[in-house]
């Protein structure tokens, strides 16, 4: 209990600091918002344009597809606002030796590394994906349980996505430069933006089981579309637990290899 209180109070300070930082650079604050909106518009636009020429892809029609895209945008929105900044700063922390100070603090280093920075400016952008989620959910005739589990499912998807990305980012202990790792991370995000059935069999299996990026969106959304508990949704939860364990191991090994940039 005391620990939770401590972490919450630390998180509150993170939030406060990020807000103070973000408002210092007002122009940037505003630009990040616009950037996200452009991203939403182009993602939805490309699917919408495509559906002018096709009526169904697999078993899904335009509404299913746009719901899925909106679902991933909602996940992406939370990711962008609360987490993503940290992935970019991690390699800098290693290269400049800023990680030294993180390691000295009497609190989980992983927590400081990956939850310290936020972009409070983009909170407001959440209106867009959530409005779309509700609109397309209604058109698809969502039942009570689908509505109730909408938020938990978005959070499950977010948790799985973040844990995969943390694991990838931790390899920065060995690669030092982060170009490749960030590239990988962004490509996985890209893969997860489309439903899993779009991909061919072996490819789909690989990116569901070994690198579970296709479970991020498709697992939770399947649960919302079908009643009952599809295997893929269960796997999304299982993968989350498994990857969390891998993160702990990798972190420990990474610290042993950490050389700390010379001053």
């Amino acid at each position: 209990m005391g620990t939770i209180k401590k972490y919450l109070s630390v998180y509150r300070e993170f939030l406060g600091n990020s807000l103070a930082e973000a408002t210092t650079y007002r122009l940037n604050f505003f630009l990040v918002m616009v950037m996200d909106l452009i991203f939403y518009a182009t993602s939805l636009g490309s699917i919408d344009f495509l559906f002018q020429y096709v009526t169904k892809i697999g078993n899904w029609d335009r509404d299913h597809f746009l719901f899925f895209i909106s679902f991933m945008l909602a996940v992406d929105h939370l990711h962008m606002t609360f987490i993503s900044e940290n992935f970019w700063s991690f390699s800098g922390d290693i290269r400049t030796g800023k990680l030294d100070f993180v390691l000295l603090k009497p609190i989980s280093g992983l927590f400081i590394c990956f939850f310290r920075l936020m972009r409070p400016g983009t909170v407001l952008n959440g209106v867009v994906p959530w409005t779309l989620l509700i609109a397309f959910g209604s058109r698809l005739g969502f039942g009570f349980w689908s509505w109730v589990s909408l938020l938990p499912m978005v959070l499950l998807a977010l948790a799985l996505m973040v844990s995969i990305e943390i694991l990838i980012t931790l390899f920065g202990f060995w690669t030092i430069s982060s170009y490749g790792l960030n590239f990988l991370r962004l490509q996985f995000q890209q893969l997860a933006r489309y439903p899993d059935f779009i991909y061919r069999y072996y490819f789909r299996k690989f990116f569901t089981i070994f690198v579970p990026v296709l479970a991020i969106g498709s697992g939770p959304v399947q649960f919302l579309f079908e009643q009952g508990l599809p295997g893929l949704t269960l796997w999304a939860g299982g993968a989350l637990i498994l990857i969390s364990a891998l993160i702990r191991i990798t972190w420990r090994k990474g610290l042993a290899a950490y050389e700390s940039a010379s001053s």
Binding site: E13, T24, D100, L103, L104, K105, P106
Partner: protein, 333 residues
């Protein structure tokens, strides 16, 4: 406080000769070398001691500090700080230490320092009343109360260093590691920081490990000196012994109103070093006859100025860095 036995740290680096072709070649074939940053290092530090680590750049001082604080893991050897193994990085251990690096900042760059302090308060779970009291105290001693709400990037280097010190002391660490805390500061700021550290240490009995390239820091703060050359310990003892390492002699410079053509025969044993115009001479005089010798010179020659040059430890360090072999000969004596 610190017990360190045969600690060694190796780093792996790869070398790449310049040029296009070599760049491409380095993609598949790389020559790796192990460098020994610290070798077979032994050190025992007692509570309340202030120990100065001396040595040239790259001697391994910072690497040692980073091992003491658990940031990097020793390749081999036994290391205990306050009974903890630093590499385990246990929470209780981390709450009792602090590291200040003159060349790196732990403050959030784009926001006022007070925000960073509040974050540290949450990290170290410092009760609000203690926090306020300590912060007020530190800020008033360091005279930075009016800068709390200023963005860190707008602070001068000296001001920022004071903030770094506050950030590291808020949780009342039992041991503080100071890695070149006065680097790049002007003379006044250096003096302020030194005086602050001395009074803080007196008040709290904190153990301090310090590295600095400014001998004035070391002279003012440290009772004990550890000299490190190429990752090995070469001297460990009281600062007075270090100053006397090359013999108990004083370097005295004398300036005359006119050039001296003739040199008294008895000066021969003092190893005289003249300037070109022969208006200035430097003599190395044994400590015990210095008074008598100087008194005699002052009466006999037209002396307009005289002074003993530099701090003795600076002279010693300079000499040892230029001729490290001197230490091994001394060890034999």
């Amino acid at each position: 406080m610190i017990s360190c036995e045969l600690v060694t740290k190796n780093f792996r680096i790869y070398k790449k000769p310049g040029g296009f072709a070599q760049s491409i070649r380095s993609l598949w074939s790389r020559e790796f070398h192990d460098t020994h940053a610290v070798r077979d290092f032994d050190l025992q530090v007692k509570k309340g001691e202030i120990v100065g680590l001396l040595g040239p750049n790259g001697a391994g001082k910072t690497t040692l500090m980073k091992m003491f604080t658990g940031i990097i893991v020793p390749t081999s050897g036994q290391l205990r700080v306050m009974g903890y193994e630093p590499a385990q990085r246990g929470i209780p251990f981390r709450k009792k230490i602090a590291l200040v690096m003159g060349q790196k900042s732990q403050l959030w760059w784009d926001i006022p320092a007070i925000d960073s302090f509040l974050l540290l308060k949450a990290y170290y779970e410092i009760p609000s009343s203690d926090f306020r009291m300590r912060l007020n105290q530190l800020a008033s001693v360091l005279q930075v109360e009016h800068l709390m709400d200023v963005h860190v990037r707008k602070l001068s280097l000296g001001e920022r260093m004071k903030m770094e010190l506050i950030a590291s002391l808020l949780h009342r660490p039992e041991i503080i590691f100071l890695d070149e805390p006065t680097i790049g500061l002007d003379v006044i700021s250096q003096k302020n920081i030194r005086e602050f550290l001395i009074s803080y240490q007196k008040q709290h009995g904190t153990t301090i490990i310090l590295t600095s390239h400014y001998m004035a820091d070391v002279e003012a703060l440290c009772g004990r000196i550890v000299l490190i050359l190429e990752g090995r310990k070469r001297f460990d003892g009281p600062i007075v012994d270090f100053g006397a390492l090359l013999g108990r002699e004083k370097f005295v410079s004398l300036v005359f109103s006119s050039s001296l053509d003739r040199q008294p025969a008895e000066w021969e044993s003092y190893d005289p070093q003249w300037n070109l115009e022969r208006t200035k001479v430097e003599l190395r005089i044994p400590e015990k006859n210095m008074g008598a010798v100087i008194a005699e010179i002052l009466t006999k020659f037209p002396v307009v100025d005289f002074y003993t040059e530099k701090l003795p430890i600076e002279r010693v360090l300079e000499t040892l860095l230029a001729k490290p072999q001197l230490i091994s000969t001394m060890a034999q004596n």
